[in-house]
């Protein structure tokens, strides 16, 4: 009997420290700056334990029943803590507030445990013995927790499962005490049901921990996630609300079905107005087939070559009916050839030339993608163009990242292209920029546009070429492989914008 009670002390102590470690680790995962997170969590937790200890004086009767109640509650709250924090992270307005509230609550409950237990045991043991034994097992439990947490629990169980597991242990302590002392306990049956329910609940979380992780990731998106796929190159996520289908690559919005026509009409039709001959077209990137859809509105186009890195992207937009409805089955057109290859490498080996090239890469947010916006890239591209070919490059937001936008323009100028920078408003993106460029002087060669455009018209273009002072030309350096200034501009400007 005695061993059992001291075993309970040991388990309680282990669980108590584990909850603290889980909260600290989770906070440093999610919020960063581990030194600050750990020390404030530990401080808050210990302080809350003090509050718990103080509160223990108000428990005077039915101590065993209260102890069992308490164990079940600690098990429940401690057990769900990490799952709850993961789920709430994206959702909550103030994650920190929730974090510290949860830490405080767990701390108070854990702080209550030992004083309560000592009160229960005070009539059964000599005081000197009692203090010595309770604290001995308390500290041994803490040692065990601090060793197994980093070495076994985090690597093999993960945070969600670890806290569930220890929550279950807490409730098991309650169950054992319940069974052993049933004669002394009021409301035994009620407590038993409660304990079993909590154990079942925590086991559920334990088994579905992975789903919870995925779901919490899904909540990073505004709308319900309807499709996810991790290819070797990127993570593709589709979300859908009543009126809107959105594509995210690596968490970055690529289009919203509500307004993508603005983006893609502005990408394709200006360059078609300025291109002389328009028979052979090259699309780099653009695996969603939206640019191809706009191009296929021109019957004189004989052939489109679409080079996109990721076969899972082009397959998705060829096969999924929701998406083929959006791109009007453009990727299945007999005029179109899909090449799944690295654009830079492909250009190096390509022998064909194209009248028009549409370059629709992801934003230059890292050094790998940054290579596709360098002087080396545009010089390589020149070999796949005629003297009179016209190209267009999607060039991020001139409002959010004016230096990055004008850097694309400067880079093209450095390579000897003539350019026309322009921009448009896409509600889901904000103000968005493009640079049209050609080895020869640029002038409008066609004024016939296809039927049925929803946004672009010949009369709109002069207006798109106007840049207000907040977006206007900046003095920037050309982007080269050996300086990658574009990535730096982009990170600086978008970083500040998102702060």
């Amino acid at each position: 009997m005695e061993a059992l009670l001291f075993f309970s002390v040991f388990v309680i102590a282990t669980c108590g420290l584990i909850y603290e470690l889980v909260a600290g680790t989770l906070a440093s995962y999610l919020l960063g700056d581990s030194v600050t997170q750990f020390s404030t969590i530990i401080g808050a937790y210990l302080f809350a334990m003090g509050i718990g200890a103080w509160l223990s004086r108000f428990f005077k009767k039915e101590l065993l029943s209260w102890f069992i109640q308490l164990e079940i509650l600690v098990g429940l709250i401690g057990g769900i803590s990490s799952a709850a924090l993961f789920l709430l992270f994206e959702h909550a307005l103030s994650f920190r507030l929730i974090l510290y509230m949860l830490v405080g609550l767990t701390g108070i409950l854990v702080g209550l445990e030992l004083p309560l237990l000592m009160n229960i045991l005070k009539n059964r043991y000599e005081f000197r013995d009692l203090v010595s034994r309770v604290f001995t097992f308390d500290y041994i439990g803490a040692l065990l927790a601090s060793i197994v947490f980093p070495l076994l629990l985090v690597p093999y169980l993960g945070l969600i499962r670890t806290s569930c597991f220890f929550g279950i242990l807490n409730v098991l302590v309650a169950m054992i005490v319940l069974v052993k002392f049933r004669s002394e306990i009021k409301w035994a049956a009620y407590l038993k049901i409660k304990a079993v329910a909590v154990i079942l609940f925590l086991s559920g979380i334990f088994f579905w921990a992975n789903e919870i992780m995925t779901f919490s990731e899904g909540m990073a998106f505004r709308d319900p996630v309807i499709f996810t796929h991790s290819s070797p190159y990127q993570r593709i996520v589709l979300t859908r609300s009543k009126s809107d289908l959105r594509l995210y690559l690596n968490g970055n919005l690529q289009f919203s079905s509500a307004d993508e026509y603005r983006y893609h009409e502005a990408l394709v039709h200006p360059v078609m107005m300025y291109g002389g001959s328009r028979r052979k077209i090259l699309i780099l990137g653009g695996g969603d087939g939206m640019a191809a859809r706009e191009l296929l509105k021109y019957p004189e186009i004989e052939h489109i070559t679409l080079v996109d890195l990721d076969p899972s992207m082009t397959r998705l937009f060829k096969e999924n009916t929701l998406l083929t409805k959006l791109n009007s089955n453009s990727l299945l057109s007999p005029k179109l050839t899909i090449v799944n290859a690295d654009a830079f490498q492909w250009l190096k080996e390509n022998k064909e030339t194209f009248n028009i090239a549409i370059i629709d890469f992801p934003d230059p947010g890292n050094y790998a993608v940054g290579k596709l916006y360098t002087t080396a890239f545009y010089r390589q591209l020149r070999h796949s163009l005629n003297d009179s070919s016209v190209i267009v490059v999607q060039s991020t937001s001139p409002y959010v990242a004016p230096k990055a936008f004008w850097c694309v323009n400067t880079t093209l100028l450095t390579c000897g292209y003539k350019t026309i920078p322009y921009h448009t408003y896409v509600p889901s993106f904000g103000e968005w920029g493009y640079v049209m460029a050609s080895p020869a002087a640029l002038y409008q060669q066609h004024d016939q546009l296809p039927e049925g455009l929803r946004y672009f018209a010949a009369g709109v273009f002069p207006q798109m070429r106007l840049f207000t002072a907040d977006m206007d030309k900046r003095a920037v350096r050309p982007n080269q492989l050996n300086n990658q200034v574009l990535v730096q501009y982009f990170e600086d400007e978008w970083g500040k914008y998102q702060e």
Partner: protein
């Protein structure tokens, strides 16, 4: 209450010890389990092998006693050695239409500029970059232009380099105070006093970069032979770089580490073992400029200087005889007799030539010629270069993965991610990084012995643990480590060597038709010096043929 529960039990000492033992036992078992998992699995899965210059075959020269050659052939100029010096000489002769042969001990040419290849990438086995050449070094600029790496000059006369040959950004990072910072000069967490000392040092190097001696030559230049002979500067060769730093009042730990790093990088030994002239030359000798790159940038390729070597090799492909151990070079009247062992056929052969270029280091060259005094002052730093194939390169915290990744106060010089020079977005299934270790923990002779005696498993442990300083869980990611031991990796410019009588004396072979060509003649083991000496030897041959 039950009677038994009210029993006042004391926790006996025995009980207490029993509980403690139980818990201690449990913790130790868990700890051991985790540690075992780490230890047994940590290295066992890593494959690979040790490669090296063919020391065993080479050492046969020392033993002597080869049979008299039965086959004799003739050529105009015979080049011994196909490192950069030998290949540069060959290029020059080929351009002049002179008949020549190149004998090489190894199965493949290149020497320190050699490279390897596996299913995922080509990688350097030694030297792996070329700093932007000085504008006066026209021979080198012409070479780069010929190779297509220099595409022209801008209006101001500055060379324009092909962008894909310049080191891609981000270039360098340093792991210091548990974090990667940008650049190799320590900054992160460094005290303001040390930072200002570093600034003062770099400013002094900038001044010395432009300074000229009484003879109007740059005090420090590349090639070394073009540097000023003004004793104000050459006197710096008499003291060590570390002494110079102390004399000039540079005391900060960070700056001293940085200089140790630089000296180990270029000379294979720390600032205490390297002459101040050479230590300063590392900075002040480099005056390169470009229209489209910062002065401090370098040219580099996935296979390192193997790219430059392959360009040079085109000029001597048909004339190259690999697996040829030259054991004796004998002046015979107007001619030179070169005797060598064809390692594959196992027979000795003789080539009689009008001229001979010994593009080998002095420790080999002096054994080939009759009656040459030992080159005791010529000290060579042993090196280890490892190519590591791994699932992926962990990013680490702080500045992202760079071309050159160095750990502050690390034993090695860190690793180079040469594959960063690929333009592709798609990276292969596995990555290859190149790890550099100057073996300077003992004196060169003993370091060399140590390196040649170590087996693959030991290297694997040493290398993986060194990488784990910055990337804790890297062991599990490593698939293969190929180790290249360079017993005589590079000439070491120890104090007094560059100005020594001995170094000046060996510039001439003592025979009118035999010429030395190797970077060790400069005392600095860099591509530029090897190229310079190769060209110079070829020019001597050309001049002699005309006279």
């Amino acid at each position: 209450m039950n009677g038994e529960n009210t029993r006042s039990n004391t926790l006996t000492r025995k009980d207490f010890l029993r509980y403690m033992a139980l818990i201690a036992g449990g913790s130790i078992t868990v700890g051991q389990y985790v540690a075992c998992q780490n230890k047994t699995d940590r290295y066992a899965h890593i494959t690979g092998k040790i490669n090296g210059a063919s020391a065993a075959i080479g050492h046969r020269i020392r033993e002597g006693s080869f049979p008299v050659p039965e086959v004799t052939t003739y050529t105009d100029t015979l080049i011994v050695g196909s490192g950069i010096a030998g290949l540069a000489a060959a290029r020059k002769l080929q351009q002049q239409g002179i008949d020549f042969k190149v004998l090489e001990l190894e199965p493949t040419p290149g020497g320190n500029a050699g490279f390897g290849k596996n299913a995922y990438a080509a990688y350097p086995l030694g030297a792996h970059y070329l700093p932007l050449p000085n504008l006066q070094h026209t021979a080198l600029l012409e070479l780069l232009e010929e190779a297509g790496m220099l595409t022209g000059y801008d209006a101001a006369g500055l060379p324009i380099y092909r962008e894909t040959d310049l080191c891609f950004d981000p270039e360098e990072r340093l792991f210091i105070h548990d974090r990667w910072q940008e650049g190799l000069v320590p900054q992160f967490g460094v005290q303001a006093a040390a930072l200002s000392e570093i600034q003062r040092f770099l400013a002094e190097m900038e001044r010395l970069r432009q300074v000229k001696g009484a003879d109007q030559l740059f005090a420090f230049d590349i090639p070394v032979a073009n540097s000023s002979a003004d004793p104000v500067y050459t006197a710096l060769d008499q003291i060590s770089m570390r002494t110079w730093l102390e004399q000039k009042g540079y005391h900060s730990e960070e700056l001293h580490w940085y200089l140790d790093y630089c000296c180990r990088d270029d000379y294979g030994a720390d600032a205490a073992a390297i002459s101040a002239w050479a230590g300063i030359h590392y900075f002040a000798g480099r005056k390169g400029k470009a229209a489209n790159a910062e002065s401090s940038q370098v040219l580099t390729w996935p296979e390192g200087n193997g790219r430059l070597m392959q360009h040079l090799l085109q000029f001597s492909k048909e004339s190259l005889l690999p697996n040829s151990l030259v054991y004796q070079v004998t002046p015979a009247g107007d001619k030179v007799q070169v005797d060598y062992l064809d390692v594959h056929q196992g027979i000795t052969k003789r080539i009689v030539a009008d001229h001979c270029i010994l593009a080998v280091p002095q420790f080999v060259g002096r054994r080939l010629l009759p009656a040459r005094p030992p080159a005791a002052n010529f000290v060579y730093s042993p090196w280890l270069v490892a190519n590591i194939t791994l699932d992926n390169i962990p990013a680490g915290s702080g500045y992202p993965l760079c071309w050159d990744n160095v750990v502050y106060k690390g034993r090695s010089l860190g690793y180079v991610n040469a594959q960063q020079q690929n333009i592709s977005q798609i990276s292969p299934d596995k990555q290859v990084i190149t790890w550099y270790l100057p073996l300077d923990h003992l004196d060169p002779v003993n370091s060399r012995k140590y390196a040649l005696g170590l087996d693959h498993a030991h290297w694997v442990k040493l290398i993986a643990d060194d990488l784990a300083i910055a990337h804790r869980h890297i062991h599990a990611l490593i698939r293969r480590i190929d180790v290249q031991v360079w017993g005589h990796g590079m000439i070491r410019p120890h104090p007094g060597f560059l100005t020594s009588q001995e170094r000046h004396a060996v510039q001439q072979s003592g025979h009118s038709n035999i010429f030395f060509a190797h970077s060790d003649l400069s005392g600095i083991s860099i591509f530029e010096e090897a190229f310079y000496h190769g060209n110079k030897a070829a020019e001597n041959v050309i001049a002699r043929r005309r006279s």
